[in-house]
Subunit: 330 residues, 2 copies
């Protein structure tokens, strides 16, 4: 594993994007989001994912020139068409617009149809928390999760992000509705390890901690069994209804073709609801109460990110050597 400075990664990715026709400013933004994801330790969706992102541009899934267009304004909620632009840029500008709406209305909502994979969902949680606002967002996905009681995928794992600003470290939850992503299953499998808890069914229909058995059955487990199954369905339904876009069952199934996703972005203008010292006190006290007596054993959502971020900025971001060689060749 190499350790490459953040700026070098960002400029390398920017150059690649400019080379395939991105406008410079959009290339810099898109590259920065990929680099920041690796910086924060979400390696599966950072630079490691970049070659697959390029592939979606080449095969026409992602239109690099498309920016979201406002379709309908209804006061504090708006519908936007993502026009199949780059998913991370679309999501960023949607959350930015929700924040803007919340400045005016106290709360703002953007429902985005026809977009592409937003990569790391937590990005938009950190984005809204950095403004001092509370944010919630989620996306639907292709069908990759069997509903509770079924054996074939009919739900997306539909990541949900909830973010609360806090000077001592934002509290940012970024969670998919499956207990383990396929990426996580692959990681356990490579290391020859069992999952810490049941992660799905084997082909015989028994709950198992064996990642290979779950890969084989394609039956990962929703969080909380029937509960996560229900929540995944609701997130998909609300996203499709508010945005007017596609629902999971309509989204093309081949991974590289996962497109025309529906997403929802909510921002709450915390700054105008109460003095910020009150908000800080409340958030700090909640974090303290949850960690109380169990430092180390209990973590709050997002806690790990700042530590990883500091380490990676100090040492350079970890990048697989083969990947880096490949990217430098592009």
């Amino acid at each position: 594993m190499l350790r490459i400075p953040f700026a070098e990664i960002a400029s390398t990715l920017t150059a690649i994007l400019v080379g395939i026709g991105f406008e410079r400013e959009r290339a810099e933004h898109c590259a920065r989001l990929f680099a920041e994801t690796t910086r924060d330790g979400i390696y599966s969706h950072g630079i490691e994912r970049f070659p697959r992102f390029l592939e979606t541009i080449r095969n026409g899934t992602v239109d690099i020139h498309a920016a979201p267009e406002c379709i309908q304004q209804l006061g504090a909620i708006e519908r936007w068409d993502g026009r199949r632009g780059p998913g991370n840029l679309n999501a960023w500008s949607s959350m930015a617009r929700a924040i803007e709406l919340s400045r005016e209305h106290g709360i703002g909502c953007v429902a985005l149809a026809n977009t592409n994979h937003w990569m790391r969902g937590g990005t938009y949680g950190w984005q809204v928390a950095d403004t001092g606002f509370i944010g919630v967002c989620w996306t639907n996905t292709l069908a990759n999760l069997p509903p509770w009681g079924a054996s074939a995928p009919a739900l997306g794992n539909n990541p949900l992000i909830v973010a609360v600003p806090r000077p001592a470290g934002h509290v940012v939850l970024d969670m998919a509705m499956s207990q383990f992503s396929y990426g996580a299953l692959a990681t356990y499998q490579q290391k020859g390890r069992l999952l810490p808890v049941d992660g799905g069914f084997d082909t015989a229909g028994n709950l198992t901690r064996d990642p290979a058995a779950i890969e084989a059955s394609q039956r990962p487990l929703p969080i909380g069994y029937w509960k996560g199954s229900g929540l995944a369905m609701m997130l998909d339904t609300v996203a499709a209804l508010l945005s007017g876009g596609l629902a999971t069952h309509q989204i093309p199934i081949e991974p590289v073709k996962e497109t025309s996703l529906s997403q929802v972005f909510l921002a709450f203008n915390l700054a105008r609801l109460q003095p910020s010292e009150d908000s800080v006190r409340t958030a700090d006290a909640i974090v303290d109460s949850v960690l109380a007596g169990n430092p180390g054993a209990v973590r709050y959502p997002g806690q790990q990110v700042l530590q990883t971020r500091a380490e990676n900025l100090a040492l350079g971001l970890p990048v697989r050597e083969e990947l880096w060689i490949d990217l430098r060749r592009l």
Copy 2:
């Protein structure tokens, strides 16, 4: 088990509430919500819970004359003080206000502080779906759930409701962040049955399906282990920050004293976002896609309610004989 007509239950409860000083209209509404909860099959929070509700009035937890007061208006989001009024009436009027705000702004949010147990959270999901709007609401609770990695409760199970309107049957998710409620554990224990999946830890710290062992350890499991633990924390934090009310760690622990809760109510004006036939088609298609090939084995959230409702309205609502005798004596 007796079978009592809905109207007889509602009028009996109304008379009791009027007898202890409720205004008639509020008594009728409060009684109706309890009766409807039993009607819909959520027996733990319907008429079965009514004696405990009366106890919270007697011991001063609930002020029967208090109605919520608007503290702050910020366009599409408002802060209300529940003034420790009856939790179900407070929650109902908060969702009604969120709906009203969404008529004007496309989306509406009410953050309610200082309220009491809202009884069945799904009530406010059915309420918003009945108007044709999408709704989301949640409450915090006293600490009844250990964070992942800890053995003592520091999180609430913070029920979350998401509701989507649909003429063929609203899709309404009503789920707490614990895998099983203490009520559900007690029911399994009474029947001498094991839980269908792990529901918590025993006193030795092992995951178990034995409800008695979980009662003994007071360590129920969050849905999805670390994931539900994180989501429970976020729901509490957002509710406390938006409402300016108490967080779980500040809420009195004795069950009968659980008070000064914080809640959030969101309504989305679906009717103005798209023609209702489009919404109906989308929601129906999603439901069909999730149930496809597995009728009976897979259910959508809320599916069971309408069937139970019809049965109970036809046969009379099931009520324990001792409970009914007690209530008739009041």
